[in-house]
Amino acid sequence: MKKLLALLLTLAMVLSMAVCASAADPISLVVWGAEEDQALLAELVEGFKAAYPDQTFDIQIGVESESTAKDTVLTDVEAAADVFAFANDQLNDLVAAGALLDLSGQVSAVLPAYAGKTLEDVMAANGEGSVAAASKDGKLYAFPMGGGNNYFLYYDSTKVSAEQAQSWDGLLAAAEAAGSKVGMTFASGWYNASFFLGAGFIADMNEDGTTVIDWNGTSSDGYTGVDVAKAMAEIAANPGFLAIADGDISNQIASKAVCAVISGTWDAGAAEAAFGEGYAATKLPTFTCAGSQVQMSCYSGFKLMGVNAYSKNSGWAVLLAEYLTNESSQTARFNSRQLAPTNLNAAADEAVSSNIAIAASAAQDVYGSVQNVGGKYWDPTATFGQMVANGELSTADEAAIQNVLDTLVEGVCAAIQ
């Protein structure tokens, strides 16, 4: 009996020692960033460690593309990284699944305690649009990391004049004259919404997570959905137009098939290489809708950095996420991958404002709106765009177009399940 007792005592001691030791265990965190961010992240993480010399950290950096982070995170939230970068179109789904920590909740206290700033400071330091894109129902769910995730017009100024680049009519005429094409992706709700939003239609989200669009009705600007669809169909039918499949844009730019193309900052390198001397970029053109010129809108997109709600060390994760998106980190990110800063000080830098692509992106952002749609939005809008691109909508048959728009709206606004 005595022996057993002794054994138990030893066991208890070993256990308690293990508990004590765990207090000194390094704080382990995992960060996910895009492939093109890996080298920078490694550098910044070292900076973060140096900023808190009293703590020992064990920080791992993993690869997860910003555009697909949601898929991996939602498969198993508990196994996902503590801090991860994602594009703001995934925010709604991530919040609905409870995967993002509410940064404006109790956890915001760590910022004044350790980083010497408040959450309000962080929000004020970043552009309004970016903070709105990172928030939902008045709560901040992620730190803005970069902007310019919208689309605008790249063009070859040796073939298209700056004036022609202002409107679709000018662009298409210039393309035809130069024997080239103007490219745009129609078969994606992300791109083709620019026509409808420009004409004053809405795309929004209800509280229950369903999407609401009114593209089959009449907009606040007095255009009907049929007007917009007809305008799109006319562009698609023009021989100077090239409908590009979603995801094939960079390839089309690189293969020099186009003299003007609608894309985002990520294609700046490809466009510069393809257009050479003539490389230029500007806001999106206007299009002819029911006889008048309408400025295209766009979805203003942002890259955000969120904290996993199930993070083991959520306090430190918040500090790390904040650090990775602060002014100096954003400047470093601009230098390494030309991601437009959302931090106002970083954005005011000379190098940023003189960047052709970022300047065009910012010029377009004036007409943009933050994307706030649910999962049911994408397939029906892509199908609609594909139908237009294929020339399946005859501009003469308004009833048929109305019918198509009705079905589109019905599909997008359907209940989530």
């Binding site: 409870g98 760590v110 997570g209 499949a245 083991k312 765009g385």
Partner: protein
Amino acid sequence: MEEKSNGFARIGSAFSGFLAGIVQFFSEFGTALAGGDAFVKLSLIWWGAGHFRRKQYVKALLMTLLEVGIILFTFNFAMSYVPKFGTLGTVQAEQVFNIQTMQSEWNDYDNSFMILLFSLFSFVVWAASVVVCMRNVVNAYRLQMEAQQGHHINSFVEDVREYLDKKFHITLLTLPTLGIVIFTLIPMLLLILVAFTNYDQQHMPPTNLFTWVGFSNFVSLFGGGITSTFGYAFVRVLGWTIVWSFFATLTTYFGGILMSLLLNSKLTRCTRLWRTMLVVTIAVPQFVSLLLMRNFFANTGIMNTICANIGLTDFLRKIGLISTSYIPFLSAPIWAHVMIILINIWVGIPYQMLIATGVLMNLPTDQLESARMDGANPFQVFKSITMPYMLQVTGPALVTDFVKNFNNFNVIYLLTQDVYVTTNQFMANSQAKEVDLLVTWLFTLTQDYYNYKMASVIGIMVFVVCAIFTLIGFNFMIRGDKEGTYQ
């Protein structure tokens, strides 16, 4: 007719044999319990009792340990999940941040998915232990009888030796069966259960709970309701899946035979070289070769460039086959359907060619010779000798191939994912495409829309349809049980 009755008789006999087995199992158990001595009865509660009584101490110890293990499993693990099986959990996750520890503190929340998974796991373990327990009683009774009749009772070593001889099948099957139960059976049962829950994007664990909803998912697939387009899409996707499986199986099957006949003809020179060229295509992983094909046939791909250069595109436009400035090889219905089947021929024929080559090597040559003597032309020989032989030998494989193609994820996914955009709005409204198979559709539903409940319903339908086709197929293909032909 005769074949049909034969087939159904087979199923009937298999079923009645199964029932008879169960009845026999229980009656043995009953006799054992009724006729056994105190130790036999005691072994219901203490599994080692019967063995202990007959001085099989090692076995008694092992059985006791197993029993203790199962009891520990039950109370330390199973009981924290199984009681929640009825509701699939009620405690929502909540957290409080503690700035002292810099950590979030969670309540003891329920995770519906884990409750489902671990409950199922527990049920399987319990079912297995009930069977073990009953067998154990029967064994104890057998030992008692042997002891009473003065027979020799096996020592532990002799028992072990038995597992290498008469009971060798148990030794052989234990590990593989365990693997199948954990990695196929339990996951399968779990997803069947999910079809009766509301596990979807609005109810995703761990943050949200899901619960039982009965048959409502089946109703929304077949009965219209909120997802009327689901039924619409299901019928179309099912239709294409069947058409695809049919053509994919038959084209590669006959293509493989023809190719092998061509290659193995006496007229062929350098057979090995040709065969090697074909087999190389198997060695390239499909995700490489098919993704390349997809680029090759893209709207702006090389094939389109070539077709435009030789004027084919313009010609097709003139006769009204296409309305676009490119040939939509993989981006329009019909075109894509045909292309997918053609590309699958490219993928499948080398395999089938290898199989056919082997089978045809065993073709009885005397029949061939006599047919040639009778002046039969090659086609007649093919029709009346080669084909019947091939069908007889590989018929059952044809049915399995059909089921494999029914669930052929790779070819469809790699060729159409991200490039095919449907222009059918009703399909789009339920996240389906004209070129989707049921499996690729359910994959999209789970991966992009987290709609596990509908995916599970579709999975069950796949199962049902495959079962029907297998049944019909085997009725046609198998004439009686061929087992033992060689024995």
